[in-house]
């Protein structure tokens, strides 16, 4: 019920501070290229106890930033998707293979994949992120070198794979063999870290819709990742973002690709179950 009280409070603030910019999420709707409808607000998944409605970070951005996502031509993140498209067809490694040799057209073979990751991969016996799967392909199927976990090459490839699932609902499994890792991720989400003693939840569950300095706090959803950020003019991966957040609590962060961040990604992704895959999104 905390959310409803907050909304009521923000409503009062918005009225009294007429002309000031409200930190509230707005009610705009997102349709990409005039055809891909993105679910940016929906009822929270059952496992969430303290939030009634989940929202894409898109709602917390200004109209100008939001507009970048309406058309792929205007979305700078799509430049990196194009680069990854070239890489998709490029032969690399000792086995003389490209991604396309096994997976053919990315639009077909990868459709829906982003929506269910991270997931428990039976053959590997572990929960894997898309990055882990890509590097597994590179080292085992291609005989190529693994990419740096949160480097540009892999983030661009994740963006390509994400782009062909846009509009499909996020649907990561949290039960069965994934449950233990999901519980670990949940534990991390609610654990305060660093000199500022902040958990993910302190900002993104208790305080979303409020201002943090001059910025609007979102729910910290990751359905829009990889995200093109205006601030660094490139695509940013989920783990790079986690690292930035944890660092801002003035804690030693986990490494991108570490089991802790994989668990956290699984948990945070599951908080967006029902939202559409939106990446590559555009954020500030």
């Amino acid at each position: 019920m905390k959310f409803k009280a907050l909304t009521a409070l923000s409503g009062v603030l918005a009225i009294t501070a007429a002309g000031a910019v409200s930190a509230d999420p707005d009610d705009d709707t997102l349709v990409i290229n005039g055809e891909i409808e993105i679910v940016t607000k929906t009822a929270a998944p059952e496992h969430m106890e303290y939030i009634d409605e989940v929202m894409s970070g898109w709602h917390f951005r200004s109209d100008e930033t939001q507009a970048f996502e309406l058309d792929d031509f205007d979305n700078p993140g799509m430049l990196f998707v194009e680069q990854a498209m070239d890489v998709w067809d490029t032969v690399e490694g000792e086995k003389g293979k490209s991604c396309a040799d096994c997976h053919e057209a990315v639009e077909d073979s990868m459709k829906g994949v982003r929506a269910v990751y991270p997931k428990y991969v039976e053959s590997a016996g572990e929960v894997r992120t898309l990055e882990m799967q890509i590097n597994d392909c590179r080292t085992n199927a291609m005989g190529a070198e693994a990419w740096k976990y949160d480097g540009d090459d892999i983030t661009n490839m994740v963006a390509l794979i994400s782009s062909v699932s846009r509009g499909m609902p996020i649907n990561v499994a949290i039960d069965g063999p994934a449950e233990m890792m999901w519980e670990q991720g949940k534990e991390l989400y609610y654990t305060r870290t660093g000199q500022l003693e902040l958990s993910c939840a302190n900002c993104h569950e208790d305080s979303y819709g409020m201002m943090i300095r001059a910025d609007h706090l979102s729910q910290g959803q990751i359905n829009g990742f990889p995200a093109y950020r205006l601030k660094n003019a490139k695509l940013n991966s989920v783990h790079a973002r986690f690292k930035g957040c944890v660092r801002d609590t003035r804690a030693e962060t986990f490494a991108p690709g570490s089991p802790e961040f994989v668990a956290l990604e699984l948990y945070v992704a599951s908080r967006g179950n029902g939202l559409s895959v939106e990446g590559p999104s555009v954020r500030n």
Binding site: F73, L79, Q83, A233
Partner: protein, 109 residues
């Protein structure tokens, strides 16, 4: 020539004779402003796209001078009259002397 410089344009495939259409253009380019310092503490020299032109069948639509305040991956949107069928030519001029261009045909109908 800088890496990953790739022009792209969005132009309708057809228009009515005399119609005004909107054209979007973008070139992937870092637009190094000359204001930033590198890891060694020295200024990174300016390296930008400094001019963009658009023509249709040899006649000018727009000729733009760009300065270092234009964002990475310069984006320019403008309107053009389409008097007849023909070809648009878009040209970008780099500080380093490189010239990038691309063309698009448009039909009347």
């Amino acid at each position: 020539m800088a890496d990953d410089v790739k022009p792209r344009v969005k132009v309708p495939k057809k228009a009515a004779a005399g119609e005004t259409i909107t054209i979007k253009t973008l070139i992937s380019h870092k637009m190094e402003s000359g204001q930033r310092k590198g890891k060694d503490g020295n200024l990174i020299p300016r390296s930008i796209i400094n001019r963009f032109t658009a023509e249709f069948n040899g006649k000018s639509i727009i000729d733009v001078t760009l300065e270092a305040a234009i964002s990475t991956n310069p984006y320019i949107e403008f309107d053009s009259i389409v008097p007849e069928e023909g070809e648009f030519k878009f040209t970008w001029y780099d500080d380093d002397g490189s010239v990038y261009d691309t063309s698009k045909k448009i039909a009347i109908g």
